[in-house]
């Protein structure tokens, strides 16, 4: 996994499929759906987001946060990515028909590794919502180089850097793109 993470192009990233036991993932999705999602929009995006999930009152969501922010898990992700990690931000996101996130690099003080854990059921490429990675040319964003559609129960990790240009394609149709995402610091 460490080698894959480093070698993947256009910048360091990895997809881990079947991240949780399937029943656990389904229970987490059911719990996530009970969270309150607030609509967010700006020039760059339109989607729905929960509060920081560490403040959730739902037992299953809290259990997932505790696991994800545990020292053992931080060390595991640190080993894959070659970073020393000390904490994690976490929020649920929901993209419905016409929601999108345009191209940006995620850079902000302290963010080392970004992650998206997909809890989106039955998504195909035609449904949109794909995560698109852009390559860079002369230190500037260039063009789309790789694309991952939101595959059920997969975890995407990428290094936040000057090169980490990415977007979420518009969701087209009635499917709901649920995910949990944030950054390791």
């Amino acid at each position: 996994m460490e080698i894959q993470f480093v070698n993947n192009k256009p910048y360091k990233h990895i997809i881990i499929n079947n991240f949780l036991n399937d029943n656990k993932a389904k229970a987490l999705l059911r719990a996530l759906k009970k969270e309150k999602f607030e609509e967010k929009d700006s020039d760059l995006f339109q989607f729905r987001q929960t509060q920081e999930l560490k403040y959730s009152k739902n037992k299953i969501v809290c259990e997932f946060y505790r696991f994800f922010s545990s020292r053992e898990f931080l060390d595991l992700i640190g080993k894959i990515t070659g970073k020393k990690l000390r904490k994690v931000d976490m929020a649920g996101t929901l993209y419905i028909d016409t929601d999108y996130l345009l191209c940006h690099d995620d850079r902000l003080e302290g963010r080392k590794i970004a992650y998206v854990y997909y809890l989106s059921e039955d998504f195909k490429e035609k449904d949109g919502g794909s995560f698109v990675l852009f390559d860079s040319k002369n230190k500037k964003v260039n063009k789309a180089a790789k694309k991952y559609y939101p595959k059920w129960n997969s975890l995407l990790l990428f290094e936040v850097s000057k090169k980490s240009w990415h977007e979420v394609e518009e969701v087209v149709g009635n499917k709901k793109r649920y995910a949990i995402g944030g950054w390791f610091h």
């Binding site: 016409t98 999108y100 345009l102 690099d105 964003v141 789309a144 240009w165 518009e170 087209v172």
Partner: protein
């Protein structure tokens, strides 16, 4: 063709123009929308000519995506002539010497973002909209933000919009979604 032969007669009427000026100066930031700006037949014939142009998309992912049109002679004649400059001066109360123009077409997946440094800074911006059969739900509104407050110009065809963009006002064109299908809007965008 003269400006006065192209523009809806109502906008050539002095008392109407005075009211428009008053409303423009009263708003903060200074802005206005003039609907049915061109005579219908002129609007339609310009649009038909524009749709015949073959154009390519330009995209810088972290700044914008749109198709750039060549400036039609008729469009230049309309927005670069002396009468139009006088019209702008009459509204803004400022002398208008040079007008910068470009034409952009926005369809599904097109947008511009706030942090486009080319559009930052203080200037008076105007845009004229071609948008047949457009629904607000498709996106494509031109939105200006000032200290977290948004001013939205919906893409209504045959409208002329003007805004005095101070340094702290930033603008963008809202992402156009899949409901637009193959439809698009064309904007003649200018600044002084």
């Amino acid at each position: 063709m003269k400006f006065s032969e192209i523009v809806n007669n109502i906008y050539l009427n002095k008392p109407v123009l005075d009211k428009i000026k008053k409303s423009y100066l009263k708003s903060d930031p200074n802005k206005l929308v003039l609907r049915g700006f061109l005579k219908d037949n002129i609007y339609q014939s310009l649009y038909n000519k524009l749709k015949k142009q073959k154009i390519g998309r330009i995209k810088i992912p972290d700044r914008f995506s749109f198709k750039k049109h060549d400036l039609l002679r008729e469009v230049k004649d309309l927005f670069e002539n002396k009468e139009f400059k006088e019209f702008l001066s009459a509204i803004t109360g400022k002398e208008v010497k040079k007008i910068n123009l470009e034409m952009r077409e926005y369809g599904w997946k097109d947008y511009t973002l706030l942090h486009d440094s080319e559009t930052a800074g203080k200037r008076i911006e105007f845009f004229f909209i071609f948008a047949p059969n457009w629904d607000d739900f498709y996106g494509g509104s031109k939105i200006y933000e000032k200290k977290g407050k948004a001013y939205v110009f919906s893409p209504i065809g045959n409208s002329f919009c003007l805004i005095n963009k101070k340094k702290d006002v930033l603008g963008f064109l809202q992402y156009i979604n899949n409901y637009a299908g193959s439809q698009s809007i064309i904007l003649v965008e200018g600044w002084i």
